[in-house]
């Protein structure tokens, strides 16, 4: 009797492929070996064998990858990166290459990847470790060569964006065997200065573009550890856009170039000028609105007073009423007219108005000697000394009548 569980070839092959695809190593693997039987098909795809003394692995470079990779010849020693998976139709496993380089440079990259993995495992690259860069720094440290293009780029950028910042250069060689200890010492000196003399807000660590070997000092463990040990946050700007170094991973912030690092470290003064203007305008608009509201409050009180005062006076003293109502009527009519004109102006031009313009049109702010502003007739009594503020100054006044 046949077993109940019979699989097709496709099912088993799909299962095998799933094992490859989910394997962490096979999905992301670096290999070194010798190229053998290299051919490029008319489709543009490349096929070859990668081998060493003991084994052979089939390898494929798809057309899109082949267009941007340096293609090897049979017999070349190469370092390749890619994933290993199953080609079902042929029943074969093979390497799908996405990176390939000659073996010399390859050794550097293997070194790079090993150091990167080791430092990453230590947590040195953790995002949680990274510190924020102050928005408007007062003082920046710069670690680079005193004679390089990187320094010129940085200083030009800082002078253009934010010349308020004070720059402290700690010069160091940035390539060769002296570079890693030099960079570490420069970072240490700036940190010492920050603690002992003047605090630094951030340090820019930079170098202009160059070959892989030129930039190698920035892939040094000593440099990475000096960055991590720096109490002042570090911004890197090393090489060109596409260069990523260990120093970049260890830094608090990575910029693609020295110029980029200077830009990330500082605000642009044109934006700041606009921000200052905005804050000033906010204050003006607020105070204009405040004064307009205060005016309509006093106008409303004046209305009520004007309607009610004559009848009160009649009951007391007819003669005084005649006199007073005539005077009050004249004064109030004049005042109301100018008040309405003023308020109308305020409403029309609220945001554009200088809040003190109302004073220049004859208004006054009346306050008691303790500074409290008079908003109501109930606040004063006959004989009170008052301070009257007008457009071009202030003077004292005394309340002659309170008429309450």
């Amino acid at each position: 009797m046949p077993p109940a569980n019979i699989h097709t070839v496709s099912q088993v092959t799909a299962y095998i492929k799933s094992l490859f695809v989910t394997d962490a190593l096979l999905g992301d693997v670096w290999l070194s070996g010798e190229v053998s039987g290299f051919t490029q098909a008319t489709s543009g795809h490349c096929y070859f064998l990668l081998k060493d003394g003991g084994a052979v692995l089939k390898a494929v470079i798809w057309r899109t990858q082949a267009a941007r990779l340096p293609l090897p010849r049979s017999g070349d020693q190469v370092l390749v990166h890619g994933s290993i998976s199953v080609y079902e139709a042929a029943g074969q496993y093979q390497l799908y290459v996405d990176h390939l380089e000659p073996a010399g440079a390859g050794r550097l990259w293997l070194e790079f990847e090993r150091l990167k993995a080791r430092l990453a495992a230590e947590g040195i690259f953790d995002e949680a470790r990274k510190r924020p860069i102050p928005a408007r720094p007062a003082r920046l440290g710069v670690v680079t060569s005193a004679t390089g293009a990187a320094l010129r780029d940085i200083l030009r950028t800082l002078a253009g964006r934010y010349p308020l910042v004070d720059v402290l250069l700690a010069p160091t060689p940035v390539q060769g065997v002296d570079a890693p200890p030099g960079i570490a010492a420069a970072l240490a000196s700036l940190n010492r200065w920050s603690v002992e003399q003047e605090p630094l807000d951030a340090i820019i660590l930079a170098r202009g573009g160059g070959s892989l070997e030129d930039l190698w000092a920035f892939n040094d463990e000593q440099v990475a550890r000096a960055i991590v040990a720096s109490a002042v946050p570090v911004i890197t700007g090393v090489g060109h856009e596409t260069d990523f170094t260990i120093a970049d991973f260890a830094a608090d912030l990575r910029a693609p170039t020295p110029t980029g690092a200077a830009a990330l470290a500082t605000p642009d003064r044109r934006e700041l000028t606009a921000a200052v203007r905005g804050l000033d305008a906010s204050a003006r608009i607020f105070v204009s609105a405040y004064l307009a509201a205060a005016h309509s409050g006093t106008d409303a009180l004046a209305h009520r007073l004007n309607r009610r005062s004559p009848s009160l006076y009649i009951a007391r003293d007819r003669q005084r009423v005649d006199d007073l109502s005539r005077r009050a009527g004249l004064a109030m009519a004049g005042r109301m007219r100018s008040a309405r004109e003023c308020l109308q102006g305020q409403r029309l031009h609220l945001s554009a108005l200088d809040p003190f313009a109302v004073l220049s049109r004859g208004y006054a702010i009346v306050s008691k000697p303790d500074g409290s502003v008079i908003g109501s007739a109930a606040q004063v009594s006959a004989g009170d000394a008052l301070n009257v503020r007008v457009a071009d100054g202030a003077f004292g006044a005394t309340v002659t009548t309170d008429d309450r």
Binding site: A146, L279, D280, L291, V373
Partner: protein
Amino acid sequence: MPELSFEDLYRELEETVRKLESGDLPLAEALALFEGGTRLAEQCNALLDGAELRVRQLTARPDGSLRAETFQGGQSG
């Protein structure tokens, strides 16, 4: 009066506007704040317009201490 940094002035200006907009202030106090804020904005702009980049170089003395001197190099080219 000690010279205030741009950062100090800018923060004070932000704080002044925040107070003006959030507080239920008496008129006299609002006017005083406003005058102060306008002065701060002028000072901020003057600093931004008048600043020139100062660059110093850190060097180690023989006794191991550090000193900062005006940076001379790198200006050519």
